[in-house]
Amino acid sequence: MATLHFELVAPERVLYSGAVDAVMLPGTEGDMTVLPGHAPVMTALKTGFIVVTDHRDHGTRVLVRGGFADINAAEVTVLAERALASAELTPQSIDQEILTVEMQRDASHEQSFKDAADATIAQLREARAALQY
């Protein structure tokens, strides 16, 4: 079966690099699953889980907060603004993220930024709830 080369890069480090069967991405226009042979797409990401399916593991989850995905037939590259790998994913670490965003929201005076931060917080809360399963 054909595979995709998936790369997840955060500003500080490379979080994932390797061949995968499928990747689910939280696009701003809705979640999407990318399989090998996908049409080239460039999409912005919202806060949510990236779910990686490779032959070893089924459904490795990574939480990303904003970023971009560059998709073509053979590879997917995600440039995440902020990313938490599955090992770091705990309700506490998400709470920490929520707190950071809340502080940024309170420090800002721009309404558009506040709205964006509110949306992010809502998505993080959702992610926190989803983590229980």
Binding site: E7, V9, A10, P11, E12, R13, V14, G27, T28, E29, A39, P40, V41, M42, T43, A44, F68, D70, N72, T77, L79, E81, R82
Partner: protein
């Protein structure tokens, strides 16, 4: 002629200094390794970002619609210099060489009748530039509290710059930092960040395929450009951190060697003086005995 006691004190104090410089060199070497690996780990992101941005920008026709971060404000009268230096001294010419490059830049721009403003990142650069350009410095970013430079620091600086750009305070922004070439060689570099300089030719190879954009192309470009600014600053900060440790390491290595030379010289002088004194005493005893 210094007395023997003076010489002994002097040797002891140089030895104490040598111990300090030696320790600093070792600490710098350890920190350098960490800074270097951090800089390397950040490289893929910056490269990917440049590639994606190049792809996007290749398809953009410059018009009134293009974001001003890419096309500029149409004027280049007001300049903003972002000068990144270290928080600590004792690292050779590291801080002063960045400051010198910035100063040359300011003088040239002022000579051309441009308006220049400065943002300092790092205390040392502020100290140096404040003497000459106190009225031009509009902001100062302190990174002393940061043990390891994270992306959020760079993002914070980028936000400050963007706010000023959106308020129309300047037209062109240039970033000053030291590029890490090797432990003994760091190159002070000026890099224009606004309007963004994008390698359009490098993107040509991959841009054959037509991309779909979600949401629109311009929305993506609009949110990517500020991010790119933060990435550039982040890279500059990391390069700077590695350069600083490299410069400190070689400066401290020099200092340790100098101290060693000085100890050797002083010890020779000490031994000679001691020998001379003994000889003198012997002569006194002998000539005293002969006189009897």
């Amino acid at each position: 002629m210094p007395s023997l006691k003076d010489l002994r004190n002097r040797i002891a104090s140089v030895k104490a200094t040598q111990k300090i410089t030696k320790a600093m060199q070792m600490v710098a070497a350890a920190k350098l390794r960490r800074a270097q690996s951090a800089a390397e780990a950040a490289r893929p992101y910056a490269e990917r970002m440049a590639q994606v941005l190049g792809n996007l920008a290749a398809g953009v026709v410059v018009g009134p619609e293009t974001p001003r971060l890419l096309s500029g404000t149409g004027s280049d009268r007001r300049h903003l210099l972002v000068v990144c230096t270290a928080e600590r001294g004792l690292c050779g010419a590291f801080n002063s060489s960045i400051a010198r490059l910035a100063r040359e830049h300011v003088n040239r721009l002022v000579g051309e009748g441009k308006d220049v403003r400065i943002i300092c990142v790092g205390k040392k650069g502020l100290d140096i530039l404040r003497r000459q350009f106190a009225d031009r410095i509009i902001d100062f970013v302190d990174l002393r509290g940061a043990r390891q430079i994270g992306f959020e620091h760079a993002d914070d600086i980028a936000q400050r710059i963007l706010q000023r750009f959106e308020a129309g305070e300047f037209d062109v922004a240039t970033l000053f930092y030291s590029r890490f070439k090797s432990v003994i060689s760091q190159i002070p570099t000026a890099h224009q960040i606004i309007p963004a300089q994008i390698g359009r030719n490098g993107a040509a190879a991959g841009s054959e395929t037509a991309y779909d954009y979600e949401p629109g192309e311009s929305e993506i470009l609009e949110s990517l450009l500020p991010r790119n600014l933060a990435v550039q600053i982040f890279r500059a900060l990391l390069e700077n951190a590695a350069s600083e440790q490299g410069a400190r390491m070689s400066a401290m290595d020099n200092a340790t060697r100098n101290a060693g030379d000085m100890i050797r010289k002083q010890t020779t002088l000490y031994n000679r003086t001691r020998q001379a004194q003994i000889t003198k005493e012997l002569i006194e005893i002998i000539s005293g005995a002969e006189a009897l």
